[in-house]
Amino acid sequence: MSAIRVMGAETEYGIHAPGTQEFNATWLSTQVVHAYSRETNHRASAGGETRWDYTDEDPLADARGWSMPRAVADPSQLTDSEPVLTAAQIALEGGEVRESSAPLMMNMVLGNGARLYVDHAHPEYSSPEVTNPLDAVRWDAAGDLVALAAVRRIAATPGVPAINLYKNNTDNKSVSYGSHENYLMPRSVPFKDIVAGLTPFFVTRAIMCGAGRVGLGQDGSGSGFQITQRADFFEAEVGLETTIRRPIINTRDEPHATAEKYRRLHVIIGDANLCQVSNFLKFGTTALVLDMIEHGTAPELEFADSVESLRAVSHDWELKENHLLADGSFVSALDVQWLYLNAAKAHCASNGSSHQETGDGHTAMVLAKWAEILTALGTDPMSLAGQLEWVAKLNLLQQYRTRDNMSWDDPRLGLIDLQWSDIRPEKGLYYKLLQHGRIQRLVSDDSITAAMTQPPADTRAYFRGRCIQAFGRNVVGASWDSVIFEVPQLRRLQRISTKEPLRGTEQLTRELFDGNPELADFLSALAL
């Protein structure tokens, strides 16, 4: 195998109603879900949301082999129960709800197999499961169009404040929100091997997939630029939490699949990416490193202090520093990435996955792009302003600094950093550069638009998405590994389990959908 793997992206958007502090962030987030539900008419006919099926959620299961006791968990870790948002709770948090009649919609399952919901105080789009990094880029970008459609709908709705959404990861005031990656792995791989093989890679991969940030420190009060949005918020090497004491390697062990066979590696270290090359490398290179870990071919090295080095790498946008390893030697972030790339080249050549004619295509593309980017980072990093997100952002900031003689603490640079990630093409500065042909695309705009409504063909997301498309009004609940139907003639709910991520594909289920437009017939056909 190699760059081919079941994977998916989660994006929590920054949410802001400009000019007012009157509204509670969770309530604003429900309006995003509600607006998209009206936009698509999904579940509108049944008058409610598609509830999430929490049966198989287990956020306190630790991959190292135990479960955190519920009593000692932070309340934000209890993501396995339905969040109930009441007017009283909003009032407690100091917010106001002007539209008492508007429904508080927390969750939707989309016709493309994704989930759109309210996570903590942010709207989140979790992409459908895909099998390769290009599709990960495509269905993640589709989420930005989903968010855009919701924003447009809200802007046209009287009585609801205009809402801006930002694909970034911090407010520069000590708060960070995540962009997570998920990778399916065989459970047989010892977790300590994952920690050892991945940590040095994660400490340094930001030089390819960081989104860039103006400000240093969690509150952004330090003056300057750094490569990532997230690095300053990480405080531990390994751990279960995602909202506090954030770890480089997250041990949440909710496989959302047959637990004896699989684990889902939940990666919380990354930045949200708009630039497709950065996003592609984020998923593609990580998938390759996981493949090496599974086969015992990952490089062996260890930083003396991974958390410290993670931060130092992010702050060193001139790529000048070396970082201390546990054996007393020093390496640069670029050295470490070359070490991983060269090991990946050898690994993929020996298993045939990168072969130009007989390989899978994706692996060779990841290796070639990885090499191209590392070579350019070693000679002229600013030559990557059309490919890497942090370089593109830095280049724009430097152009402003040159033209207007600004220091790094000029508030306009902070605004450029923020507005870079506004998801509206007429306001977002990333989109401005894209429109001017200054940023490279890897997937076509048409294919991203199609991915808003269509699921990937080659995972169980196809089954989930087609269920919503065909029988949405009868789907009362769903999750990554289930779809629950309410059938008018039957008293009991019908729960269909989808524990195998590579089943439920178009190839396996298309005829079932095409041949059974009626739900009762469809369910009977499933039972055969």
């Binding site: 400009p18 934000s76 903590h120 105080a121 997570h180 593309m365 490919q387 695309r441 890897l442 089943r503």
Partner: protein
């Protein structure tokens, strides 16, 4: 089934290569460099026009609650 999946994605990849757009590379001669500079100025002028007014206040108002 796994090999079938791989074939599917493999053919899709070839299709994607067609989508790929070249990155504009700045020309080395001075006339082109000058054109590039005025291109940057035009771009910044356009961005000036879409930036939120009162940068300091807008940035200060962007306050988020905790997330993952």
């Amino acid at each position: 089934m796994a090999s079938q999946e791989q074939k599917n994605v493999s053919s899709r990849t070839e299709e994607e290569h067609v989508d790929e757009l070249p990155v504009p590379t700045p020309a080395p001669d001075s006339a082109a460099a000058q054109a590039a500079t005025s291109g940057v100025d035009d771009l910044l002028d356009e961005i000036d026009g879409v930036l939120e007014v009162n940068a300091e206040e807008f940035v200060r108002g962007f306050v988020q609650k905790g997330g993952q």
